[in-house]
């Protein structure tokens, strides 16, 4: 716990309640953050937009005559890729607002008054951002089921989506929190995160079947989103064993470890008040 969190001015209450006996501090913070995310309407609204996107994609995949030559596995793979990519990227946007947003709205002071360490607060915010991905994954289950029933691919697709999506969501949520912590304003944080979002997502739209050489393969492996989606296609559509292309998961894993490590070790610098920045 840092000195600043102990120096609570008299009469000032944190919006994060004190942890009771047997309740971990990060859990209390996560609970409060989840309440803010889901009861404020922001989480449900994002999920609504997410479900509209999946509905359009699913119906087009199932009914469009041009797309209808797709094998059932490919249709499931396409929908799962969109669910994983958009779910993880929405997690990035929510986490990008987590610290800089509080700083700008003038509520970060209240958060810092909580009798928990800054590292604990970051873990709580991180868990809250991940909750968005987990609910987005649950929303995507009926879409995967309706496209994949009959070819015994649903179980494999859902497990694959959960593993790769969670890995991507962890990496992007950690990156988003890091960007949010070091940005001086929420506008900067969201702009940088949006740019990162497009930079990571754009290469996944390139034609995948073309020969791309070692440099193209290297770029694909370095991009956590591209590499994760490639792994999904390799296992689900191409029928590769889970272990054959597992090296493609290295970049999401390394991103998660590096960004998570940076957040953990620099938590006091990331979660700081900035002079002159207040929504009050």
């Amino acid at each position: 716990m840092t000195a600043s969190t102990n120096l609570r001015p008299a009469g000032v209450q944190s919006r994060i309640p004190a942890a009771g006996h047997g309740t971990a501090g990060w859990w209390v913070v996560a609970e409060q953050e989840c309440r803010d995310l889901w009861l404020s309407g922001r989480g449900p609204l994002l999920l609504f937009a997410f479900s509209v996107l999946l509905s359009v994609m699913t119906y087009l995949t199932a009914s469009n005559q041009v797309l209808n030559f797709l094998e059932q596995r490919e249709a499931v793979g396409l929908t799962l890729q969109i669910a994983v990519a958009v779910g993880a990227l929405v997690t990035l946007l929510v986490s990008a607002d987590a610290i800089s947003g509080e700083r700008e709205r003038g509520t970060l002071e209240n958060v810092l008054l909580a009798p928990v360490s800054r590292r604990t607060i970051i873990v709580g915010k991180f868990v809250s951002a991940l909750s968005l991905w987990l609910v987005a994954f649950v929303v995507s289950v009926p879409y995967v089921w309706v496209l994949g029933r009959g070819v015994s691919v649903v179980g494999q697709a859902l497990l694959l989506g959960l593993v790769v999506g969670t890995l991507l969501a962890v990496a992007l949520a950690a990156l988003g929190l890091l960007i949010s912590g070091v940005s001086n304003s929420n506008k900067v944080s969201l702009s940088v995160s949006l740019f990162l979002l497009f930079a990571l997502f754009a290469p996944t739209q390139l034609p995948t079947g073309l020969p791309q050489g070692w440099f193209g393969d290297l770029l694909l492996r370095l991009n956590p989103v591209g590499a994760g989606l490639h792994y999904i296609t390799a296992v689900l559509v191409d029928g590769h064993a889970w272990t054959r292309d597992v090296s493609y998961l290295a970049s999401p894993l390394v991103t998660a470890v590096l960004a998570g490590g940076a957040l953990t070790f620099a938590s006091s610098r990331v979660l700081r008040l900035t002079a002159g920045v207040s929504g009050a």
Partner: protein, 182 residues
């Protein structure tokens, strides 16, 4: 005069020698035999399959560099866009040694229903022979592609409507609750 005769004789000898000398023997593509496997296929639209080609050079000379090009011909009048069938139609084939062989394969996806012949054409690609021919065509692989509607749009529609409606109601409920408590 004797000198002129001698020079003429030498020139004639050189020309004759050049004409009769064995050319740095490159076997014409016509001597290469091409075998494809499998010989025929019955598949469903959207299915992927692989055509494997084996090129054998039975001549005593190495071949020139060659290009192997994949073609799909429709036997039922269906329009074939080869870009949709295979992303890498053309492969380079390095010179095949005398008596040697080489192998290539093409990953193909059947995107139309109907009856098709898939075959490979070998084109010479050496500095002197490019564009000159002759071409070598493999025997065709007969592919019958059955049409189907893989996905049931009727089954997808209820999910595509119900899920957003439920989530929209939940989002609207959360906003309403927030406004009331504010």
């Amino acid at each position: 005069m004797k000198i002129l005769l001698a020079v003429t004789a030498i020139l004639l000898a050189m020309l004759a020698g050049a004409a009769l000398a064995p050319r740095t023997a490159a076997a014409a593509p016509g001597t290469v035999a091409v075998m494809l496997t499998p010989s025929q296929l019955n598949i469903v639209m959207g299915e992927r399959f692989t055509i494997r080609a084996r090129f054998v050079n039975p001549s005593a000379a190495a071949t020139e560099p060659l290009i192997a090009d994949l073609n799909v011909a429709s036997l039922t009048g269906v329009y074939v866009d080869l870009e949709d069938w295979s992303v890498s139609r053309t492969h380079d084939l390095v010179p095949i040694a005398p008596g040697g062989s080489a192998a290539l394969s093409w990953d193909i996806q059947a995107v139309n229903a109907g009856s098709f012949d898939v075959y490979i054409v070998l084109l010479p690609h050496g500095p002197a022979s490019a564009g000159a021919g002759p071409l070598v065509a493999s025997p065709p692989v007969h592919v019958t592609v059955a049409g189907r509607r893989a996905l049931n749009a009727g089954g997808a529609l209820p999910i595509a409507v119900i899920v957003p409606v439920l989530l929209g109601l939940a989002a609207a409920g959360a906003r309403y609750r927030l406004r009331r408590t504010a």
